[in-house]
């Protein structure tokens, strides 16, 4: 008798749990879904007729996308954002892994102090560096250039920290064996250590991509001329009350901007989640 009641209570709990979980999932995903629907609906159709709960017109959506690419600087902004992201990823990975290699596997005078200083940097808010960095970049003549966008972000303390954690797990005797085998310092880095932290490098690359793609504040002040606008800036432009674009155009711009991170996420979700979880649990 009591087992039956327990079973029924279980079902009530389970049902509630599922209802709650699905409802929240809906709230989490719906705005993205809504955005897709707005794009893939007949332009100008009043909301009372079509409340945009599901996509209604594939053709209209494609039209809007084509229009945006043809008539605005969006395609160019896309290219800028991609270039910005790729250059940053290459730089962060290279510079970071070279340094992480040393900090995690070797001893040399000053190691602890230097590493400590970099760690402290993780705690310094961007607020205090962004204006002076802008001034420096301006002095270097790098305003409105790709260098100005990319280079200041290459010494990523977060990236260094993450790679050091990974590399620490490499058994020291593998390095010693390579040393005994006559491998030079850089050879050990390139042939032995880098291949072994492929996972960490991929995760860092993805996280860097997402962060760069979504970077708004820095490109806003460094890329003041239209040729160097990133996707973020263009979207922000569409967004301002001075713009005369319709909801449809704005949402199309938004959707296109959302596509790369979403694709990365769907393919690499395990790595992304693991990367964030790991940095959190060690922090």
């Amino acid at each position: 008798m009591s087992t039956m009641r327990k079973q029924r209570r279980l079902t009530v709990w389970t049902a509630l749990k599922w209802a709650l979980a699905l409802a929240i999932a809906l709230v989490a995903v719906f705005p993205i879904w809504w955005m897709i629907n707005v794009v893939f609906a007949q332009a100008g159709e009043p909301v009372s007729l079509n409340p945009r709960l599901w996509p209604t017109s594939l053709g209209a959506g494609i039209d809007k996308i084509a229009t945006i690419f043809a008539e605005t600087g969006y395609l160019r902004a896309y290219g800028i954002s991609i270039l910005y992201a790729l250059l940053t990823i290459a730089g962060v990975l290279l510079v970071g892994s070279l340094a992480a290699f040393e900090f995690s596997l070797f001893e040399f005078p000053g190691r602890k102090i230097l590493f400590g200083v970099v760690l402290l940097a993780l705690m310094v808010p961007t607020a205090v560096t962004i204006i002076p960095t802008y001034v420096l970049v301006s002095r270097l003549g790098w305003l409105n250039t790709m260098e100005g966008l990319v280079v200041p972000g290459l010494a990523s303390a977060f990236g260094l920290f993450m790679l050091v954690q990974f590399m620490r797990a490499i058994p020291k005797d593998m390095i010693e064996a390579a040393r005994l085998d006559g491998a030079g310092h850089f050879q050990i880095y390139w042939h032995v250590v880098l291949p072994l932290c492929r996972n960490a490098l991929v995760t860092l690359a993805i996280l860097t991509f997402i962060q760069t793609w979504g970077n708004y504040m820095w490109p806003l002040i460094v890329g003041t001329r239209e040729e160097l606008y990133t996707v973020g800036q263009v979207v922000g432009q569409f967004n301002s009350p001075l713009s005369h674009h319709t909801v449809d155009t704005v949402m199309t711009a938004n959707l296109l901007a959302a596509v790369p991170p979403l694709i990365f996420f769907l393919i690499f979700q395990r790595q992304i989640v693991q990367g964030i979880a790991m940095s959190g649990s060690k922090g």
Partner: protein
Amino acid sequence: MAFLDISSVSKSFGSVSILRDVDLSIEEGEFVVFVGPSGCGKSTLLRMISGLEEISAGTISIAGEVMNEIEPADRGAAMVFQSYALYPHMTTFENVSFGLRMAHKARDFIAGRVNEAATILQLEKLLARKPGQLSGGQKQRVAIGRAIVREPRVFLFDEPLSNLDAELRVQMRAELTELHKRLGTTMIYVTHDQIEAMTLADKMVVMAGGLIQQAGPPLTLYDDPDNQFVAGFVGSPKMNFLAGQLASVDAGSVKLSGVGGAADITLPIGGVGGGARAVTLGVRPEHLTIAGDDAPGALSGRVTLVEELGAESFVHLTVADGTPMIVRARRDAARAGSRVRLGIDAGRALLFERDGQRIRGSLSLQ
């Protein structure tokens, strides 16, 4: 001048001293085993020979040349690590050829050397596999292969068999002996397992507390140890040690009293100097016999445990002063709880000062 000379070598990390004033000469082609308990400094000494550890004081020379300042890769030494240290993302071929590839040797040259090593170690069929697809024993052989291709003048082994299971260990021991016979290269081997040391070594070096306790052929260390530590370390089950008093001395023998609390025993060791004093008697389990309670013999004790192994038994007993002893006897030699008398092969028993030094008298055993 020996092939490898370790001269007054010391090592300390900060204020902690690991090795103190170590001297050792190794001949070319010898198989030398450093053996001792954890922390005795054997691995550190090996790593100093390889160049992976700095030498705090003293010199290490190979073929007359001092190696202290020379890079590990230039010393002509190759090392096999306890964990094999194979590169997991490379195939066997790539692992073995790593050093040669880093030195940018010609492809044919590399292939030749690798195939040679593969033949010696029976790795031909495994060359395309990665470490993850190899068994422990196979990984071990790949690690050895990596060392062989460099044609070193010294092979260094750092506890290479500790990660293998017992059966495999026995097999690999035999293979290592074979390898040594075949290549004839000087080999320096570190282990904590004295059985490995006994079976592999031409010269066995027992270390403890940062010092070399004794160095020599294994059987010499077994039969004629320099001190109590070596006597107790070598041989399993351990040698029995009994406290006693040196009562009197004459030209060819030494009389002990109060051995194990009660017994009087005479040993045929002549020319023992010094006066009456406390000493320690050492006798191996196989040099004792169990007799019934009524048999002659000075030592007696109560049996606490009998371990029957089939072909023989280990009889554990305690003597008058409570010291535990083990006797290696035939099966069914005794029963737990009973009192027994022990016969001693006095000619094989050893005498030590209380501080552990061996008392040899003026006549040394052969």
